[in-house]
Subunit: 471 residues, 2 copies
């Protein structure tokens, strides 16, 4: 079925049917994405204020056979929010649906609308004496709706899970324009198929999430941060197992840092204070969030001593202040920016089973070297088996020098992750960037089921056409 473009007639129809100020030409910022890979075409953006208005927009789009791209904070890294080809779709931005509908600290629940910015939800939870644990680099602009649509990950997944693990219920407009009122505040509800988990991670292709009921957590009583130098990635995993054996869920973050990333930081962001004078080849940033009566310094020292006895760590620093803890995290958080300034030939977001992680790192080096000479910065959420595996030109070279090797490099990294039972998109989603990867690496029975579900719920194909599944 062919869709129609969101043309001026459709713009006028929306303007007629929606309150004043809801419909306007999309500003250029809606047509760009952080990595500059995709470019949108001029179109209309509609900014509804209620789920009912969203439903009206979806019904009109269905009636006129116009595609809709739901738009959150615009921070997605796989082009899910940009339509570069096909009939121009309407942009449906949730930016005016930011209300906090309710905070229930005694239930550890918060209900907010989809346009709420992640950082504002973290702040609202903190004001209620609770923690909303999702934490990622773009939290100052990413929206809850986008976090849900992409099942966002980040640095606290090890302890608290992905976005889907933090959602108790949804309100959403389905492709036929019906509103699903599913904002439950329940920990247990076994009444039929889990539509919530189907919409989460479907990247706007099965409906528009308009509000969510989110899980809050108790705030840890004491927190601590350390950077431990490890001899190998394998040792990092042993250190993680030891830490979890001693502290259980209280290990909140465990990030692998590669010497190449620290060298990039020294080169392009020299003001970022680094914990060691000589950049270690492998180190881990560990965060613990402890119960009452526990002391972070003591726990981290005990862990270090025991890990050192077993040869898992070579050196370490434990943050002595809030400031120092922030400095350690700042190192980790600026690595993507340093990567960007150096200019990667390819970036990857792969995951592998934890036990295969050292193997992935060793073999990754090998398959890359068969293509050419490159620098590799391999870092990330190692506790989740999730690595951002980025490949860079040698010093003096530029990314564009290697344009003709890009596809081979990406293929080699994805083939390797897949061969080890891994995923070619651990946390960023499929968007438009990885549609072909999904076809290549996805299980055929799963793909057939996905297509059947898409056709059943969105028979006209109006929801985010071209994302996740080929139209």
């Amino acid at each position: 079925m062919t869709l129609n473009a969101a043309d001026s007639d459709f713009h006028d129809l929306l303007q007629q049917r929606l309150p004043d100020g809801s419909v306007r030409p999309a500003e250029p910022r809606y047509l760009e994405e952080p990595r500059g890979r995709y470019h949108g075409r001029p179109t209309t953006v509609v900014v509804p204020k209620t789920a009912e208005e969203v439903a009206e927009v979806v019904r009109l789009a269905a009636q006129e056979r116009v595609g809709i791209v739901p738009y959150g904070g615009g921070t997605g890294l796989v082009g899910g929010q940009i339509s570069p080809e096909g009939p121009v779709p309407l942009l449906l931005s949730l930016e005016r649906m930011t209300a906090l509908r309710g905070v229930y600290p005694e239930e550890n629940v918060l209900i907010c609308e989809a346009g709420a910015v992640l950082a504002s939800v973290q702040t609202a939870a903190a004001a209620a004496g609770r923690l909303f644990p999702l934490s990622l680099a773009s939290e100052g602009s990413a929206s809850i709706g986008g976090n849900l649509a992409t099942n966002a990950g980040g640095t606290a997944v090890l302890r608290y899970g992905n976005m889907r693990d933090l959602c108790l219920g949804l309100e959403a407009v389905l492709p036929d324009g019906q509103i699903w009122h599913g904002l439950k505040r329940l920990r247990k509800d076994n009444t039929g198929y889990d539509l919530r988990h189907l919409l989460i991670g479907s990247e706007g292709t099965l409906g528009v999430i308009t509000a969510a009921s989110l899980k809050l957590c108790p705030q840890p009583v004491a927190t601590g941060t350390a950077v431990f130098v490890v001899p190998t990635p394998d040792a990092a995993l042993s250190l993680l197992a030891l830490a979890q054996q001693q502290l259980g869920e209280m290990v909140s973050g465990f990030e692998l840092i590669n010497g190449q990333g620290l060298a990039f930081l020294s080169e392009v962001l020299p003001d970022i204070r680094q914990p060691f004078d000589a950049a270690p080849e492998w180190s881990v940033l560990m965060e613990v969030g402890l119960a009452h009566g526990m002391n972070a310094q003591t726990e981290l020292e005990t862990l270090f001593a025991e890990a050192a006895d077993r040869g898992m760590v070579l050196d370490g620093v434990i943050a002595q202040s809030q400031q120092q803890s922030q400095d350690f995290w700042s190192v980790r958080e600026h690595i993507p920016e340093a990567n960007k300034r150096v200019g990667a030939v390819i970036s990857s977001d792969v995951s592998v089973p934890l036990g295969s992680l050292p193997d992935f790192i060793t073999k990754g080096k090998q398959v890359i070297s068969e293509i050419g000479e490159f620098r590799i910065n391999c870092f990330g959420h190692v506790g989740d088996g999730n690595l951002h595996y980025n490949v860079f030109p040698l010093p003096g070279g530029t990314s564009s020098d290697h344009a003709n090797q890009r596809a081979a490099l990406q293929r080699a990294v994805h083939d390797l992750a897949h061969a080890l039972g891994g995923s070619v998109s651990a946390e960023h989603g499929v968007g438009r960037l990885k549609v072909a990867d999904l076809e290549r690496y996805g299980d055929p029975a799963k793909l057939a089921a996905m297509r059947a579900i898409k056709s059943a719920l969105d028979p006209l194909g109006i929801m985010n056409p071209g994302a996740v599944l080929r139209t």
Copy 2:
């Protein structure tokens, strides 16, 4: 579309196409369920040994338009495993698919087939120095496949989540006979719609789960058990909040016990040792699983002292030995058996938002009293907002005296839970028992989406016909 019965021709066809010993007439045990509400009809049971054989069965059933009821441990409480009407379906029992396909302690992962009994998986995890936390009364016979199909709950959900939270991947045969090979060992994998979560909780209506990749957890270093007497259910919730504030995720279990349940125990199971001479009206059984360096006795004493200061607890006992801890749990675990012996007029499995729980208990008493004079035993997983709300005749009466009030009682309890934003099936599922409840209380947009998904994935309607959705 009308299905055909699993008749003797179909029996013969299966026998031709499957290895010897795979097909036989179903013994009576397959045609009964624990509560005696549903009675199956004589039919064939097929007991495949591999996913490929399951796929062959499904393809033959599709070809001959015969319904299939997937069969796990047979412990379900809502009739999902029994077909009392319509064309007689085939029973597909996973009982010979019990293999442990792999244990990966360093990854906290275990892969087993769907017929594996829950207790055997717990044992295999313990042998690897890990915990598989799902814990429920029927764990000695319930299967992993059944636990997944019903998204089982139990007593450890507060800390570790429902069955869906403990599953990383699935292998399943879809209704068209294709095998989905989705046994990933990944913590993060955002490659398309989450078919795993769609199958989990779908009660065999969208496919047959043949194996699962399960999450393991570190074993707590120290555990402790206490029974605290609380003045009100409200105080129990405050106690829970205090415990979580101090101990975070280390609060593993928090079960509400009602004096009525203790009175039933004294009456029909007098050998069960109770913690208090005079049964308190409300008490909670609390379990903690602590990190290294912590002492359970100290933590529980500290918590008791602080809670007593705030008027949240009136009395308490802390288990001084493994035996005493088991005795406390034995009280909780024998309450359902005591209920059964006394003979309930109705049993419920509702959940409400935690904040509405005290209100539910107060109003519940009221709506029941408007129907007649009854005894109420209201107990359960209060940390999850999940209550088993059971209504009994007065002493001397029997359940059958009140047969004509049963529907009104069930309706009153469900109406109340629904009005408070709750669920009429917190952990047992829909099965055949609650199909009408789902229609009554379910969100219409969600129901329409469920029906569309069912038609898309199982257009012939062969998978567990009559369960969850009306045929």
